[in-house]
Symmetry: C2
Subunit: 455 residues, 2 copies
Amino acid sequence: MADDHVQSSGRMQAYSDAIFSIVATIMILPVAHTEIPKDKNLREVIFYQLLPKILIYILSFFVVAISWSAHVWLFQIIRHADDVTTLLNLLIMMIITFLPFTFTLMGTFPEFVLAIVLFSVCIIVLGLVQALVVLHVFRNPQTMEESIRNSENMTAVRNALLLRVLVNAILCTFAAVFAPVTSVISYVFLVMILFSPNIAVQLSKLISKCSGGRFQMSQEVVRRGKSYEMEVNKERVECYSDGVFAIVATLIILDICEKDIPSRTALKYEYKNDLVAALDHDSSVFLAYFGTFATVGLLWYIHHSLYHHLQRTSRLMTMFNNFSLAMIGGMPLAFKLTSLYNDTDFYNNERVAIQLSCVIMFLASISQLAIFVTALFRPEQDLTDSVKVGGQSHYYLLVKLLVYPTVSIIIYIISLTSDVLSVESFHVAQLGTPVLFFILWLIAVKIQRNVQEVL
Amino acid sequence: MADDHVQSSGRMQAYSDAIFSIVATIMILPVAHTEIPKDKNLREVIFYQLLPKILIYILSFFVVAISWSAHVWLFQIIRHADDVTTLLNLLIMMIITFLPFTFTLMGTFPEFVLAIVLFSVCIIVLGLVQALVVLHVFRNPQTMEESIRNSENMTAVRNALLLRVLVNAILCTFAAVFAPVTSVISYVFLVMILFSPNIAVQLSKLISKCSGGRFQMSQEVVRRGKSYEMEVNKERVECYSDGVFAIVATLIILDICEKDIPSRTALKYEYKNDLVAALDHDSSVFLAYFGTFATVGLLWYIHHSLYHHLQRTSRLMTMFNNFSLAMIGGMPLAFKLTSLYNDTDFYNNERVAIQLSCVIMFLASISQLAIFVTALFRPEQDLTDSVKVGGQSHYYLLVKLLVYPTVSIIIYIISLTSDVLSVESFHVAQLGTPVLFFILWLIAVKIQRNVQEVL
């Protein structure tokens, strides 16, 4: 019966990944829902009104991503999850889902002690619950991953794991303690969260040294924690990324459903019961929706092709991936601005909106390329044979990865030099990109046939 | 190289499941965001203002769920997805994501021809793209599932599949054609979509008969299409359910982030820069959040325990599951009402909000129980050994499944008979339920030890 209460932990991880990814991305909505007057200079709006909110979004995205990677790391030790682990994990998810609130509060009132303390308490409780999971798993070794169960010094492994999950809690304790004195020191501690994996490694060395070897840390776990070396479970990276791509696609339609369906009274008095005219009034929104969806979908497609050929994902790659996802999470903002400034002549706002979209597309796609380039440094470990230099799909994948950086640079340059570029033509270009990928596929198949004929 | 462009279709399916589940659930937001004046009779508000919107939400949830099950059915034939299939699937996702808009439009203006035609065109395009996928896969048999590739009459299998994916398109063509004449007939055709799997079976029999056997339909595929018999891929059901649970949990916090953080000016003038007082003003919202999250999380936990012990999921079970998920998607509404009517004395609104929450919780959990009861009718095929009648975990799972129906009935009855029940105590009860499950686990472990000692 004991074994029977124990369930494979795969589904629990997939569910956690979904929550993490939605929580990380949903923080774009306060940015995208900012009231922007149509007749103001968009460049000024971006710098004075949007930029602070965008920075908070990116920071919160990375805080959630760091918590996610700690979660991935923790659950690597668990092979099967019993009921207690599952319930504790739900508690972790409850705190994670609450993070956006405390983070927004801190972003709105950075100088208030309460805001810092509330955020810190969340991270401390998170660390404590994760520590409980570690302790529970080590009391029930049958739920553990075999490589860890068979390791020589279990206590050392446990101590290293406990330190790893408690590092953020320790940093936040300091942040909370210093908050009433001066918030600057608190924020120094909070920023250190972004480097917590490295801090954990240094701290474990320090503890080993100070205790004269009494508190031994597992070298294996310490090694795993080293920043570049650390390998991240590929399936979970894919699951997490899928969540971000999926929620971005649906956040856009949500806005349309809430805002672009006229009310019955508006239809009666403004459009004289002519639904066609009412929808035509918002027609630019639909073009913007299909264009944005095409871009998000194709970036997923490239991500899918790339990760299919990765054999191993290092921490550096995951950092690039997180940055790419954070940018893709910005697509609802690009959608909003391009559909808002359709055919307005104020201050070139239309072109600024297009340029911002290009910057987002460029950063998202260039980080995908960076993942591939990182992998090319260690092709033997990281890549499948066919995409290594000289492999038969090497150039196909490379060209796929280069499409969006190239397209976004070209559109950006056109928008700088010419007046012809409108939001409509930009969205039509977005909608045309799938055709480009289809042509690429045709060429790849053609080349393959020729090669086979030569052989 | 051909094989190299071909990628396992698992990730594509998981991504599609995520999009389907978010699209299905996100339609609750127009319901949850309805402006409700605090001083009106909630019972009247529910019947006159909310009920039509709730019905649209449930209908749209089922339309998306039907499309999802057609998608599951279609991709059962694909073992590996090549680039063309992946791109076509992205096109399918684009249409699926657009469905909520056309559906909301139809819900707001049911008598307008344009609304019916727009929705029909979406479903028709969806059917055509799915037909393209079928044709592409049959031209590239190396991407096919082996059991189908080895089947004797490939053309018959293909015809049956084409008919299955085109049934909805045919129904919608009729709906669109009749829309200018009379919308009633159109709606009859649209409602038939909910029964499309059965219609496909009957239609295939009819075609076989009329053509005198020239257009042969595969008996195997036809048999798979029969309503009760049809087996649904369990992994995809889990993936789809996870998506719904995850988005519900995060939709709630999204509302809090957008509405319950005071602006700087409000803080200055209304609360005299006292952040504690400002947050205390919304304190009931936080209790409501944690209570609702606990309920959603535990319903996921029960779902997880149940599906862990299912060996096979029939279409009937999936229907119960979809109904349960549609109810769980209603939790943001329960959250909103209970946090809105905290300590108001108008018309017993507080108690009505609690009763509505109980109804949602009861329907969600009783459908989970229905899944288990359905499985008990065919224990040999559907259940693992330990949860069959007489199995060692049978009662443990049954008690788990009974907790929420019982708790919600008890709270409902208390709310009818006594005045003591407040929204606060309701949320505290929600937060206390995890403890109940922990005690259940302790008892189960205890019994198991006793049994082992006796043996």
